[in-house]
């Protein structure tokens, strides 16, 4: 897919790339209805740990994200509690 997108934290670029590649391949199976398992779990865990620790250093982003999650929960598809 050509160039790869940067991560919020440069130190996570590599683990992001590895995970994104795995996901792209898995997504083809998902589209065909062949897989409902998260087959990239290990790569995602490595990448996620990297991003999380980078975000914890950025207090503003972290706090704003927590607020947004409270207002529009993931489980609810990011729908706002009040509006929609």
């Amino acid at each position: 897919m050509g160039q790869s997108m940067s991560s919020i934290a440069p130190e996570c670029n590599e683990s992001k790339k590895a995970y994104d590649n795995c996901f792209s391949q898995w997504y083809e199976k998902f589209l065909k209805g062949e897989s409902l398992e998260n087959e990239c779990k290990d790569l995602f865990d490595t990448y996620k740990t990297c991003v999380q620790s980078a975000m914890l250093k950025n207090h503003n982003v972290h706090k704003n994200l927590e607020d947004a999650r409270e207002q529009a929960p993931f489980e609810n598809g990011g729908k706002h509690r009040e509006t929609d």
Partner: protein, 171 residues
Amino acid sequence: MKFFDSKSSFPYSWEQVTRANWNKYPNEITTHVETVDVLRREIDPETHILRTERIIGVRQPVPLWLTKLLRTDGRAFCREVSEIDLKKGTLTMRTQNLDHSTVLSVMETIVYQRDPSSPSNNTLFTQRASFHSGINFKKISQSVEDFSLQRFIQNSKLGRAAFDQVLENTQ
């Protein structure tokens, strides 16, 4: 409060569109989008909906009067939650800005839907966005909302052009 609504379609199957959506960035057109990170991704065990949370970092010049109100250097972050429903043939993305949300809150919902009349080569697109400034002076809050709406329209055009290009390249 201001709103923006738009409807169109893409001459590609829904599967192609959702695949390209993951590969939209980086591209040569929407260079203001600097970073994209997946924060959470799960498959709902009952509905089989693939749900993803991402944080998107953007950088765009902001006029001086707004720089002071928003206390920004032009860098900002958005949170996006997307849902892919294979059975219904829908990809729904809800995005909101994370910074300065009391001064300006922007919420966008995009739906890509399989076109029932030509599922193999067309996907329907709907976009809705709201712009709300919590500033107590009406004149200022309206200026902020107006600026944001215009910027949003510009960015949407860029986003469309970029997505068309990505789709063409994945053919």
